[in-house]
Symmetry: C2
Subunit: 349 residues, 2 copies
Amino acid sequence: MIFDMLDKRSKQVLQAVVQSYINNPEPVGSRYITKKYAVGCSPATIRNIMADLEDFGFLSQPHTSAGRVPTDKGYRFFVDSLGAMEESRAQSEMSKEFAQQFMIRLEAIKDDISMLFSEVTNTLSALSNYVSIALPPKPEKTTFNRIQLIKYRRNIIVAILLTDEGVFRNRSLTAPEGVTQDDLDRIADYINTEYAGLTLDEIKKTLVQRIKYEKVLWDKLVNKAIEICEQALYFAEDDVFVSGLYDVMDLPDFSDISHIKELSRAIRDKHMMLKLLEELSDAEGVKVVIGNENPIVNLKGLSVVTTTYKEGERPMGVIALIGPRRMDYSKAISMIDMVAHCVSRTLGG
Amino acid sequence: MIFDMLDKRSKQVLQAVVQSYINNPEPVGSRYITKKYAVGCSPATIRNIMADLEDFGFLSQPHTSAGRVPTDKGYRFFVDSLGAMEESRAQSEMSKEFAQQFMIRLEAIKDDISMLFSEVTNTLSALSNYVSIALPPKPEKTTFNRIQLIKYRRNIIVAILLTDEGVFRNRSLTAPEGVTQDDLDRIADYINTEYAGLTLDEIKKTLVQRIKYEKVLWDKLVNKAIEICEQALYFAEDDVFVSGLYDVMDLPDFSDISHIKELSRAIRDKHMMLKLLEELSDAEGVKVVIGNENPIVNLKGLSVVTTTYKEGERPMGVIALIGPRRMDYSKAISMIDMVAHCVSRTLGG
DNA sequence: ATTAGCACTCAAGGCGAGAGAGTGCTAATG
DNA sequence: CATTAGCACTCTCTCGCCTTGAGTGCTAAT
């Protein structure tokens, strides 16, 4: 294991370097460490240790006569050792209080899923100064409550899909000729009694099957209706909540505009983003992906912290924070954890 | 009038300077003008003219030995003279073709107001490389079609507001005790027959009055229902569509991150933004606001081009482009004009 | 009125010296 | 034998100096 390569003092030094670099993005020198962190030995000794740490790949030098900078491996060690001393994540009084305030705000808007997640990402990015992303509950995790079909104007049908987690989606569709509101009501009734309590994903599958083998039996109208429902169930991929791109520009790491561009493009590339986040969404607890560990090429210079919110034990969706590699992992982890818990409790209750 | 201060050749030179600076953001010198633009005189003459133009306040020099740069007044002249030679805005073959394609895309999504306006801003910013903003039809301009109240879960009411311009808004509200779906249907029926064809604004006013003097007559339930409707009619100010912040970063004008920040903040400050845009929204045709003409302090380094889309003759809402002061006004104006016409035709038909 | 010619101004870029921060190595030390 | 003081060395950063070049304004000639 990675931890065994280092004696206690080396670990201390490594943590000191990472912490210092997180606080202030400048290469950190041996003298600085002896002054700021009580390691109890001289700069020369630190230099030796640092040279070792560099050999092991935890640190690197921008140039020969500069201090050391953490590598991805260095950050990885730092993050893993954060997890080891779990108690540091115990919530402070202040954050507990904040969580309560936050819960109250969430409760007030829990029935509008998009307001809810806007609030979540806004809060998270305001707290952390990093970019925050949230995915609403995935269709396969969302329970169907009922569908409402409304006819209006000449030949438009509006389908409103309600789930147990809040209003979800309304789509409008072109109606076939001669459909009356009564027809729509009957269709909706049928679907509501038939499918209540199933997840959207299950419904989707069932619907497709029905269409296949009942095509001949049912009349055109119902056929069309099923199509309508399927479309209504279709999940637009732009249902991703992003916030904090502005705040992040204040970080020194993004003083160069090319970095902002990179990040923007990564976020805009929602397909990619979704894939990454969904991959991580099965995991328990908070996950951290550092720099090059990241499979998305535009994100290689950045780190991602993700977790899931749940209903009971069932993970429902993903929340993520994206920031520079030298992000304040400790803070980011506890923030996202707190927020995820609040969301879980709000949706679950 | 501003036009009379200058003889024909001075105008030519001024236009040449502005055009050149728009194409390439570097101070333009006298020699360059004689080479690139056929003015028919020597650099020395141009220098004299430029000195005059500077005296009049149309041009300025970054430093003594540099070329000239347009001032806001210079741009203003340029834009106004664009308007004068209207024929230049006649659509080219290519843009006509594009407009047709665009119309087809709009038709396909016209019934979902948010998809529609997302498409509009995306297209506009992709075409122009500037930030585009669109406001959906204002409540006072939007015609009520019907409202649908749905009860679900314990005590939640979902109100879906349909307008003649597309599905508009769904809000969820806490229901008073003991309301049944039948009650809600009756209330909705009442409102639908009573208010069909009115604008949302008119309805709002009427509702408030009703509450006042019918309070004693009606039972609590209907009272509550009216409140519900009022809430449903409430217009969240975050219904602003913005796009193109990423594209704009590629412009040399925004190579400095502080400019991006400025722009971001201006956009985030939606109150301000809305106020500005609404102010301009009564105007006929395309309006241009240049640099310091702008009342919003964060926008003083930028220019805004706005226009309205209409239903028949009635202006419905605003579309805007925000870019650097040296934006390609000619292109921006014709683009936004084209898009606005397409939106008008789509919503009107 | 226009233009050629010329002196002048100023930003930008290249160069070199000096300062400063930090290292690695060696030899002394407890 | 691990630790440390001392020292030479390396590299970046900054400042000032100079040169270059683009562009001007003025004056005198056309």
